[in-house]
């Protein structure tokens, strides 16, 4: 059993160094100032890992249930098809990767990423085909294995830093994966039961669900910041979106109208942001903060006066039920996670792809980014800077508004005070974590959703770590990320600066 679970991780750990260390070393062979920050950071984390996973480990086994994630009726055929497709994809990508490397052509960033994804899917499909119900891992043994690996990688990072060679990017990624595996095993094994276990599928599905509003919020942030407007008002956009979705859906009795009204409401908040900051040149951060307070006060006031007085007619929206995508939902483990979503969930995927393609592969995106990086240059070539900004900010608001509707139409079917609960700020963090890139923001939001869900799950099974520290994790991660341990991220150059023609 444990052998079957390993492929994804071990695959990555073994093929990573073999394939990518060479050129990384060649590229940075020249003397260059490389800071010790990464080496020291990894070293500290490795020591933390050794203490937690090694010395503090217990003798229990950590169980990861897979059976629930798979629909009992799901056909094995789907698993087999997935297996074959994933195998083909992994093989083709691997071939492409090595081939390009050999011929010296540029390897796009997407090739390693998709290869890894294909390998993961392959592993999961194999689990599905083999009808694995549960993976049980001995925490002590695995904890020490992870500790040793972490220490080795930290040592390697220091070893590279010594002759001023840059630390390759994969090292951080592999380190993170090993740390995560060790952490998961340790924390699950620390549960109350004799044989503690958690449902892997439940964990992932919950993570995606919790991430939906974050993804929409961070996309809103990306749309605004890429055009040079700081959007702190995401929180307000989410909240007003949630409020208006609830009220409109109840009044009209149509959930889809609620969804549309949420987008309009988010756009409305953006309109104020745009008018005050672009037209009247008020500092964008100030407007954002003030708008958040305003929306919080406004919705709370209306909730206390109108909605609580007559919840039947004002605050009882229907639900957007989850819809299965045929066939795809049968893919083991990931199928139900990704392809059993509500309309809002599917819109999320669409939005991420549209924003990504729009920003980086269309004329419109080029203009938007030009305005965000160097508005004066954009102006000289005939782009109307402020109109572009206005339009993008409105679009961002609409996107965040749809994210807000998730609260009232999908997760809970009624509005309550301040129900966005600071997620707008986390979305902001996800955007920065994702380096102002829609895909990055999406992944960062997933990570936050994962941490959030993990926290609530291990509170149930009982854990060695106080739940407050688990809850703290995403925020601490963000601080570390922003402080540059993960890599320096650079905002669009003109972000936050009003443009005045002249």
């Amino acid at each position: 059993m444990s052998a079957t679970s390993q492929p994804p991780a071990s695959q990555r750990t073994t093929d990573g160094p073999a394939q990518s260390s060479g050129p990384a070393g060649v590229k940075t062979g020249t003397a260059e100032l490389v800071s010790w920050k990464a080496g020291i950071g990894l070293g500290l984390l490795a020591v933390l890992g050794v203490i937690l996973f090694g010395f503090l480990a217990n003798t229990k086994t950590a169980g990861f249930r897979i059976a629930e994630a798979r629909d009992p009726n799901a056909s094995t055929a789907a698993a087999w098809v997935t297996l074959v497709v994933a195998l083909a994809a992994a093989a083709y990508l691997g071939y492409l990767w090595t081939n390009r490397r050999r011929t010296g052509a540029a390897v796009g960033r997407w090739i390693p990423a998709t290869t890894v994804a294909a390998v993961v899917v392959l592993g999961l499909a194999a689990l599905g085909v083999a009808r694995v119900e549960k993976i049980a891992l001995p925490s002590m043994a695995l904890g020490w294995i992870c500790s040793v690996l972490l220490l080795a990688m930290a040592a390697y990072a220091c070893f590279l830093t010594l002759p001023h060679r840059r630390i390759p990017g994969w090292l951080g990624g592999v380190f993170a994966v090993v740390f995560l595996i060790g952490f998961m095993v340790w924390i699950v094994a620390g549960g109350r039961d004799a044989e503690p276990s958690i449902s892997l599928g439940g964990l992932m599905a919950g993570a995606v669900t919790l991430a939906v509003p974050l993804v929409f919020g961070s996309l809103s942030g990306v749309l605004c910041e890429r055009v040079g407007v700081v959007n702190i008002a995401i929180e307000g956009q989410l909240l007003l979106g949630a409020f208006s979705a609830a009220v409109v859906a109840t009044v009209t009795g149509n959930v889809y109208l609620g969804l549309v009204s949420a987008a309009v409401a988010g756009g409305l908040v953006s309109l104020v942001l745009a008018v005050v900051s672009i037209k009247y040149l008020v500092n964008q951060i100030i407007v954002g903060v003030v708008l958040n307070v305003l929306i919080s006060g406004l919705t709370s006031f209306l909730f206390s006066t109108l909605l609580t007085a007559d919840p039947q007619h004002l605050n009882k929206p229907g639900r957007l039920e989850p819809v299965d995508i045929p066939f795809l939902v049968d893919i083991p483990v990931i199928g139900p996670i990704l392809f059993r979503q509500s309309l809002v969930g599917y819109l999320m995927y669409v939005a991420v792809i549209v924003v990504y393609v729009g920003l980086f592969h269309t004329k419109w995106g080029l203009r938007v980014r030009a305005v965000g990086e160097h508005p004066q240059a954009a102006d000289t070539v005939g782009i109307n800077v402020n109109r572009t900004r206005f339009r993008n900010v409105l679009m961002g608001g609409a996107v965040a508004g749809i994210g807000g509707s998730f609260f009232t139409l999908v997760s809970v079917d009624a509005f309550s005070k301040d129900m966005s609960g600071g997620r707008g700020y986390i979305a902001l963090a996800a955007m920065i974590f994702g380096r102002w890139n829609p895909i990055g923001a999406f992944l960062a939001a997933l990570l936050f959703g994962f941490a959030d869900n993990l926290q609530s799950i291990i509170t149930i099974i009982g854990s060695p770590v106080p739940s407050q520290f688990m809850a703290m994790l995403p925020y601490a991660l963000t601080v570390i990320a922003v402080a540059g341990l993960v890599g320096r991220s650079r905002p669009p150059a003109a972000s936050g600066i009003p443009y005045v023609k002249g």
Binding site: Y280, N283, G297, F301, P375, Q468, V482
Partner: protein
Amino acid sequence: MSEKTTPEPAAQARKHATDPAGPPKAAQSPSGADAADAVLDTAESDVVLDAAGGQIPPSAVPAATQRRNLDGGASVLRQIFAGNAMVSVLSVLLAIVLGGILMAVTNPKVAATAGYFFALPGDLLTEVFRPYTALVQGSIFNWAGADLAAQLYPITETLTVATPLICAGLGVALAFRAGLFNIGAQGQIIFGALFGAYAGFAWHLPVGLHLVVVILAGLVGGAIWGGVVGLLKARTGAHEVIVTIMLNYIANFLLLFLLTTPAFQRRGSTNPISPFLDSSALFPGLLGPQFRLHAGFIVAILATAFVWWLLNRSTIGFEFRAVGANPSAARTAGINVSRSTIVVMAIAGALAGLAGIAQVSGTEKYLSGGVAASIGFDAITVALLGRSTPWGTFFAGLLFGAFRAGGVAMQAQTQTPIDIVLVIQSLIVLFIAAPPLVRAIFGLNPRKKKSTRGSTAASTAGGVKSGAAA
């Protein structure tokens, strides 16, 4: 203040190099304008981009431009009406009117009385004004009170509520002046309260000394949490807005965690609350036991005076303002920008920590998860309303304290949710931040007629008119 052995050349160089940033500011600014500069420059102060950098000289500040425009032959009357003070007053008025409309629309009784408005207009008007009357009664003077003490109780309540708002607001304002946007007052308050409360209930010291130790502990706590932000900003360039937001959450969870540990949790209690602070660790009451007003208010006044002195009379404060106005120029002038950033955030944190002390040692008397309430966020609006000047912040704190105190009475008397106060507060700040908007609403915009002159002057005035003219 911190002039070292060779002050002469250094100070000289400093003066010269900051001059480029200096003159335009001096030319246009009565108090408000440079505060607004600091705020405006905040966002991406260290982005050195010629295009964008050239576009935000102080002339892009609305508060400043309006003044410049008026210089050319506008009448005195107009100057009064369109001046800063008038805009502030109009903003408050507008926000109150909008809040009133919101309350009237959502109040079923108003709808009922509106039915016979023409027969008995008085009824509708009393119904519309009732929440505001309750607000005034709850915050300034209760004319229905039985005796003088009861009549004066509301104003003391206002001062009590305003105390932490003023302290935290000063912290935010000080950071503004140095070009930093400190959203982290919430976390800094929590840390100040955490340290101060621990010193208050765990150590048993003699009367007098104990309170001093508690205050110092609170200052240190806040300074640590603020200093971390400054350190990260200075060393790694992390954006302080994000870092402070995240540190707020971290501080909150840390507080919740600590309140479940034996060191902080009250013995015999299952709730996450700390033991009561020793009576020697509490601020003494100012007007006797029937009022909640405590000596923390005096401390808040002293803190305001201190910040005024720091900003306007000390070398280090001059450095803060120089860094806030133009970090590159400040660096050229030999000011250590990194050190300034760290120090100003530490002081800002300490001021917020003082607000935490005002909570645990003044009103709450113990530590709980909600010790910081929403003071940290209100403090931002307080500082903005006060235009980041110490005394402006002080009076803004008083105003918001009155709103808070009165809001509670209003909710009790008229069942109007206190959330309306948030709406009014944020509207006030929004309007005050955008004077052209207010003047456009009241039809006071002087630019409409003079568009031709405006366009010629646009090049020098940064072209704000083209963007701002309604």
